[in-house]
């Protein structure tokens, strides 16, 4: 049966964009149908959601909301990006730093650190700093661990080659270890951005009712479900688009052939 499906889809599978377009249409049609039945009062039709979306785009609601959501996200990711990469590199190069840091960050990455978010208000209140902290909290482990892995996995063959040609320790780090690890470091940044979005949204839903999180909570409380779904859609879209932009950039800069084997 598998073989039959394969041969039938052989023609279609040669056009991935066609398939993707079809799949989007399919999902939207399903959404519209589910909203029409309706699956639940709280489930708006796709058409209603789009109308609400466009309206909020036009009357500046989105602009106002995102002007509160995006800055702490960017600041947070920049902070963790710089700090996290440096920490990861330090852990990769220094056995002491590795000993101290690795178990800690491994535990942190596995753990639902979201539980700490409600505590943030006690120190940082409900403002900008609180949101930045939430972003940092959620994105730090993945950035640090990816940078660490990138640095510690430098190919032995290239390291030996540089030793044979008399590289100093600094030359080895700068010319071999860092270029070889840059792919994983960048991947860590991309993953960190995705986690950062989660941090920002969580902070807005739990501790500080501002930005897009506030939109979502507000429209839920007024039962304007089309507007609520539209707000959710907007953040999902924003996150997906920015992360995939980073992914494309990553693919272009760190082409697989140019990565060490």
């Amino acid at each position: 049966m598998v073989a039959r499906i394969q041969s039938r889809s052989g023609r279609i599978s040669g056009h991935p964009w066609l398939l993707r377009g079809l799949s989007i249409l399919l999902v939207l049609a399903l959404w519209e149908w589910a909203g029409t039945i309706p699956v639940s009062i709280a489930f708006p039709k796709f058409s209603e959601t789009i109308v609400a979306f466009v309206e909020m785009l036009g009357d500046g609601t989105f602009v106002a909301a995102y002007s509160e959501t995006i800055p702490p996200l960017v600041v947070g990711v920049l902070l963790t990006g710089i700090g996290g990469i440096l920490a990861g590199i330090a852990m990769g190069l220094s056995p002491k730093a590795q000993w101290l840091g690795l178990p800690l960050f491994i535990v942190l990455q596995a753990s639902p650190s979201a539980a700490i978010v409600p505590l943030i208000t006690f120190i940082y209140g409900i403002g900008f700093a609180a949101k930045v902290f939430a972003v940092v909290l959620l994105s730090a482990p993945v950035i640090v661990l990816n940078s660490y892995r990138g640095i510690s996995n430098a190919p032995r063959s290239l390291l030996e080659m540089s030793e044979a040609f008399l590289a100093s320790r600094w030359q080895r780090i700068w010319k071999i270890v860092l270029p070889a690890g840059s792919g994983l470091i960048f991947a860590g940044l991309r993953l960190g951005l995705a986690q950062g979005f989660t941090g920002a949204v969580l902070a807005e839903l739990i501790i500080t009712p501002t930005g897009v999180g506030d939109l979502i909570t507000f429209y839920r409380s007024t039962a304007d479900y089309a507007y609520m779904f539209a707000s959710i859609l907007s953040i999902i879209l924003l996150a997906s688009v920015s992360v995939s932009l980073l992914q494309n950039l990553e693919k272009r800069i760190f082409r697989p052939e140019m990565r060490p084997a």
Partner: protein, 250 residues
């Protein structure tokens, strides 16, 4: 790390951090952070308590059901995506979009649709974990050496045998990696779900403790949850390591 020639395993660095915690707590540097020993003491009170048992039960229920669903659907879809290019292209886009999205934003919608109880939590766990399981399964299945499948066919293997005896085993390293990540995300999902719902489970307890500024109890609960997450993820990592011997020579 070695001190005077004695090798100290890495796990001990956590003890160093705990010692630091104790110092910070004793010096009362941050009001939020009580000494580590106080937290440990609180743990012995929290864990046997009835409220903890209740919270833990409902949390594990939601986590268990959600993960089971996510595993079945995720692995199934992942295999389909890996073996059938059309499905891969069709579903791949969605899986990728949701895998890196702040699914937290969806939870309020779930609350509106499904209420404040078990169904919402189960769906949250499912949504948080299914994408990464499907994605990693797809990668693992795509990487299966076609020669292995041809070999199976040439010896007359049925489709069922092919999948159970060759494909899944060959894709096992990636599959296990996906399961481990899925477990971690599923746990994040159940906690986040409960934090937002706020009236059930661990989320309710966290809310309760922080609202009443019962810091030792809060951190004790946190450590318990963190410990569970770590143990679960390391358990899968153990199996990952057991199969890693053939990961490079497939």
């Amino acid at each position: 790390m070695t001190i005077r020639g004695y090798r100290i395993p890495m796990a001990f660095s956590l003890l160093v951090w705990c010692a630091l915690w104790e110092v910070v707590g004793r010096l009362d540097l941050v009001s939020l952070i009580p000494p580590f020993t106080e937290v440990l003491g609180a743990a012995f009170e929290v864990i046997p308590s009835e409220s903890f048992a209740e919270a833990a039960t409902i949390t594990f229920q939601a986590f268990g059901i959600g993960m089971a669903l996510a595993l079945v659907v995720g692995i199934g879809v992942g295999i389909a995506m890996g073996r059938i290019p059309a499905v891969g292209h069709l579903m791949g886009m969605w899986v990728n979009i949701f895998e890196s999205s702040p699914l937290t934003a969806i939870v309020p919608a779930l609350m509106a649709l499904l209420g404040f109880g078990l169904p919402t939590m189960v769906v949250t766990v499912f949504l948080f974990s299914v994408w990464v399981i499907a994605l990693d399964t797809q990668v693992g299945v795509e990487r299966v050496n076609p020669s292995l499948v041809e070999m199976g066919r040439s010896f007359g293997a049925s489709n069922r045998d092919l999948y159970s005896k060759i494909v899944i085993l060959a894709a096992l390293p990636e599959l296990l990696a996906g399961i481990r990540l899925g477990l971690i995300r599923g746990l994040k999902g159940v906690i986040i779900g409960q934090l937002l719902i706020a009236v059930v489970g661990m989320g309710y307890l966290f809310e309760l403790y922080s609202r009443n500024f019962l810091m030792p109890e809060f951190w004790a609960l946190l450590i318990v949850v963190f410990a569970f997450a770590f143990v679960a993820s390391e358990a899968v990592a153990y199996f990952e390591r057991k199969v890693s011997f053939y990961a490079t020579s497939r």
